[in-house]
């Protein structure tokens, strides 16, 4: 009988620096499993963000580069254009992709670059100490919205995935979540689709993943998962967007 569960080859067998209950570890593993299953480890190139996942290249076991904050998709665009045989993906948080890097995100999508984007939405800046993110919910308390985010001052949670879905060159956008085992499986399926699209030369594919940040939500890990299910998915509905 064959082995049906093992440590992914694309993931180094070491502990991560992430907080208890953080979603990054799960997302890293899903990506590693998908890369193994698609047999692309030897041609994949990852572009890691500035943010909590800045040293994701220490956890994955394939070629990676850092990128300046917000510029991952500019870096990825060039890598893919000069080396179309490689499978290039970015892994970006909400601040990276939807605040400082909005220009790169919009224009890379609009050019229809044949890339895979894994977008971690945890509604907060984690690395820098829990400041308001573009995706922070109304009323959500952060280090820079101590009384909660107010629409009249800080605007509304930015639904970048819905915005990108309007662009004709965008192939695939799906929003998934990590708040329960069955949701994790659906997330993996979406990640797989986004990589498969690139292998089939179909164009820009993005998976938004709602991911818990118990530390800066001020919640226990279990409560953070419940908060995604009860509150966050109402603002960011799950499913295929394009």
């Amino acid at each position: 009988m064959g082995k049906i569960f093992k440590h992914p080859e694309s993931l180094r067998n070491i502990s991560t620096h992430y907080c208890a209950g953080c979603g990054h570890g799960i997302a890293h593993r899903l990506i590693a499993e998908v890369i193994d299953e698609l047999g692309i480890r030897e041609r994949v190139i990852g572009v890691t963000p500035v943010g909590c996942a800045v040293i994701a290249y220490d956890y994955w076991d394939f070629d990676c580069t850092e990128a300046a904050h917000g510029r991952a998709l500019a870096v990825a665009t060039a890598i893919k254009r000069v080396s179309p045989e490689n499978i290039v993906f970015t892994y970006q948080g909400d601040g990276d992709l939807a605040a400082i890097g909005t220009g790169e995100t919009l224009h890379t999508a609009n050019r229809g670059e044949n890339l895979t984007v894994i977008f971690i939405n945890n509604a907060v800046y984690g690395m820098t100490g829990g400041q308001m993110a573009p995706t922070t919910l109304l009323g959500q308390k952060t280090a820079t919205t101590p009384k909660g985010r107010q629409a009249k001052l800080e605007g509304y949670p930015l639904k970048i995935s819905e915005i990108l879905a309007q662009l004709p060159a965008v192939k695939y956008i799906e929003r998934r979540s990590l708040h329960a085992p069955q949701e994790v499986l659906k997330t993996k399926k979406a990640i797989r689709q986004a990589f498969q699209n690139q292998m089939d030369n179909l164009g820009f594919s993005l998976v938004e993943i709602l991911s818990p940040c118990p530390t800066y939500w001020g919640m226990s890990p279990k409560k953070a998962l419940d908060w995604i299910q009860d509150v966050m998915v109402k603002e960011f509905p799950l499913g295929r967007i394009k």
Binding site: R41, E42, R43, V44, I45, V47, V54, I55, Y57, W60, D61, F62, D63, C64, T65, E66, A67, A68, G70, R71, A74, V75, A76, T77, A78, I79, R81, V82, S83, E85, N86, G103, E104, L106, H107
Partner: protein, 357 residues
């Protein structure tokens, strides 16, 4: 018979880059360097390279970062305000030790300034420009031919030292048309063959351990170790790569020091004044970093009561490097204008006359 063509400086820079083996261009429109971008848009696809009009200068320099990380020879171009925007990216390129060439066709500043030629970005180019202890290699062409020729050197140095190289031109050189002798020594194919295998590049980890391109070093002592590696490299570059042109130094009492377009005016004046019997000489730094200190040290040992007249299209930037190089052993005078005006022959002669008196 090699072809001689009439070309603008901007086009010559682009033409030289492609012939030097450049495979990737990303840029964003800004005057007075747009002919370079347009040339790349036309020619890059013809030679099998990649051209991207980026959505911003930030995107353009980070695209260059990406192409370089993938092991390809890459270039971007802009003019002063756009170059300011690229500084973060250049710092990352230096920190990650990637080879790349950046062209700055300087215009008037500060702020939006104007589109007239200037040399006011000398400090920014030679002092790093972005954050952190790093240096770009800075080459300053003074004519269309040299704009073309220095591209070969620029890519060779970028590749050899895995370091950003800045070609510091100005709006006058960019716009001016001159005859250009094309070279047959280098072309895309032969250059590519000559390039070292880039075993550090991102190509996919087939039959090797994964490669990581990074400038982030969080572990105790790790960043200092990287910085020492960089400093050692900079020292080597300072020893091996300074370049300059000189004229009539042996008996000169006054030496004009200028670079780029300004050096052309200075050089023709020096020749004319020599014909009239004035003991005047000329130094033109070609590498602004590394600055050619040694020639300045040598002339101050050999000559007593020497006066150096630094002429710039700025309010005195290279002037500081000249002063550092002569270490107080010669009198250093300055003449400069920026923001639209260029020091005229008359102004220079008046200044020289005052020095002589």
């Amino acid at each position: 018979m090699l072809k001689k063509v009439l070309m603008s400086g901007n086009e010559a820079l682009a033409c030289g880059a492609i012939q030097a083996g450049c495979h990737f261009y990303a840029g964003y429109p800004i005057t007075p360097q747009n002919e370079l971008t347009a040339y790349m848009a036309r020619r890059m696809p013809e030679v099998g390279g990649i051209f991207i009009q980026a959505e911003s200068e930030l995107a353009a320099i980070n695209m260059v970062f990406g192409a370089a990380a993938a092991g390809k020879m890459a270039i971007t171009s802009s003019s002063s305000p756009g170059i300011s925007l690229k500084q973060e990216g250049i710092s990352y390129i230096a920190g990650c030790e990637l080879p790349a060439v950046i062209v700055n066709v300087m215009r008037g500043g500060p702020g939006l300034g104007n589109i007239s030629p200037a040399q006011s970005d000398y400090f920014q180019a030679t002092r790093g420009g972005g954050h952190g202890d790093y240096h770009s290699i800075v080459l300053a062409p003074s004519c269309v031919q040299e704009a073309y020729d220095l591209m070969f050197l620029g890519f060779a140095l970028a590749d050899k030292y895995r370091n950003p190289v800045i070609i510091l031109a100005d709006g006058m050189l960019g716009q001016m048309m001159e005859p250009l002798q094309l070279s047959d020594k280098n072309n895309l194919k032969t250059e590519n063959r000559k390039l070292k295998t880039k075993e550090w590049a991102l190509t996919g980890c087939k039959n090797r351990k994964p490669n990581i391109i990074r400038s982030l070093y969080l572990a105790e002592g790790a960043l200092e170790k990287l910085n020492l590696v960089l400093q050692k490299k900079y020292k080597t570059i300072q020893q091996k790569e300074p370049r300059y042109e000189d004229l009539f130094l042996d008996d000169a009492k006054i030496i004009l020091v200028a670079y780029g377009t300004m050096a052309r005016i200075a050089k023709s004046m020096v020749k004319r004044l020599r014909n009239k019997g004035k003991k005047i000489g000329f130094i033109r730094p070609i590498t602004l970093w590394p600055f050619p200190d040694k020639i300045f040290q040598r002339i101050t040992i050999n000559h007593k009561r020497l006066t150096l007249l630094v002429i710039e299209m700025s309010y005195g930037q290279m002037l500081e490097d000249v002063k550092l190089a002569v270490e107080g052993k010669a009198k250093v005078e300055f003449l400069g204008r920026a923001g639209g005006g260029i020091p005229t022959e008359e102004e220079i002669i008046n200044k020289i006359d005052r020095l002589v008196c």
